[in-house]
Amino acid sequence: MIDVREVTKRYEEFEALQDVSLHVPAGSLTALLGPSGSGKSTLLRVIAGLEEPDGGEVLIEGEDATRLPARRRGVGFVFQHYAAFKHMTVRANVAFGLKVRRRPKAEIRQRVDELLALVHLEGWADRYPSQLSGGQRQRMALARALAVEPRVLLLDEPFGALDAQVRQELRVWLRRLHDDVHVTTVFVTHDQEEAMDVAEQVAVIHDGRIQQVGSPRELYEHPANDFVMSFIGPVTRLGDSVVRPHDVSIVSEPGEDTREALVERVAHLSFEVRVELALDDGRDIWVQLTRAQAAELELEPGQIVWVRPAYSTPGGFQAAGSALSVET
């Protein structure tokens, strides 16, 4: 369990964290989600003790850890670029935390073997990090962090340096690992899909402030503000409303609430079809359809159709007039 209370952190003029409070339940898997420069990594580093906050408190398992040095906090930390000890073998890397704690050799050996099995690196114990792939290095880093049986596991963009396929695999794997090990885990990501896929609880951070905390579904269906809505999923603008592109219906006849639109482009992406249209006021809008819907409408570029909002889920967000910046 982690409690962050009114933490502020300033770098010269830049306010990295402003009055941030966050509760991470014991045993949960929480994502800190935000664009780069939002303060999410700073918050993670404050929890780990790698950065000192200018104000506020950090409690780990109910104990005030604000003034505790990082090495006494009992945190496992995984870095984006692995931070592998390059001059040590995989085994020595994983054993490091136990070695500096002066545990008996036999115990270290047994524990390292267990962990290497857990992260599927049994055959790689005597290799050096330079001989490992990115995904393997990150699994080694994870085993190293878990070796000291941390009270909380903190991961800073753990998959950020990996290519898409390995990313996807490690995501699933982290999820399963968390089910097995059940240590309170916080990971930082700028990828909303990653956060929604892996985490039980997501905290959206922007401009050094927490915008909203909730389950992936809550965030998607009930975004607290413009920023969360546009950051959590795709959005498009229909008149004065900001809507999800799948919450717009295309019909072939005018009716109540409809607006005329000109089909500009129809793109067949995997299972979804993306339709780009120009509204009667000249603004662009895009709509997400299923293949079946698209087939039924027989859309062609140049065709005139009518669009209207169709909230399949509650939570269409009334934009406050200002233009939205979509950063995904």
Partner: protein
Amino acid sequence: MRVSRGARIGLRTVALGYLTLLLALPVGFVFYKTFDKGLGAVWDALTTPNAIQALELTLLMVAVAVPLNTAFGVLAALVIVRGRMRGRALLNALIDLPFAISPVVVGLALYLLYGRQGWFGSWFLDHGIQIIFSTPGMILATVFVSLPFVVREVIPVLREIGTSQEEAATTLGASPWQTFWRITLPAIRWGVLYGVVLTTARALGEFGAVSVVSGKILGETDTLPLYVEQRFQAFDLTGAYAASALLAAIALATLLLMTKLQPKEART
């Protein structure tokens, strides 16, 4: 960049010619001249009591200056790169002073400070320690002129490795001391080693600063470079060449040792 065949050969010739003319030829010629009169003459020239004393004193300079400047160099590099104290920029600039100032000026400055009439010199003399025209002064001069090498080699390596390995060690429970010995030092070891080689070379070969403070007392305060000059002035060319060749051989051996110690991946 695409370079035509002719230009490539031209560039290669210029580079190799430059190296040959300015580096390989003079050093090679010293060896050639040394063994001109046969091995026996060289052996005789190097086993005179004065030559042996000069060699011993030179090795003493290296033995003191290298460990001292290595320890200081690593510490200073850590303070400059990782530290947060004020005045880091000043320290960084100050470290280059021995590169900037002519060694003769360094020697004179030491003479002014530690000489008979100097600020500290009279105090030391009252306590029975002679610094100028004696070994301690020569060691001071050698340490001064060879100070920047380790710092300058280690700073870029420290910057390059970044802080994440050290941070990882910290979160795993390592104390600052453990982190230094187990993580930082192994990560910068090739930088340190290269700095040590350069420091050794400089300590071996220093002439100007040591010359001013040594007083050049034959058989007492001669180092090998001073001895070379002294033999040369005395028209003993065999002696001068032999001592030169010995100096060059020690320096080359140090370089070779470093290349041998380096692992393959660091040798690129």
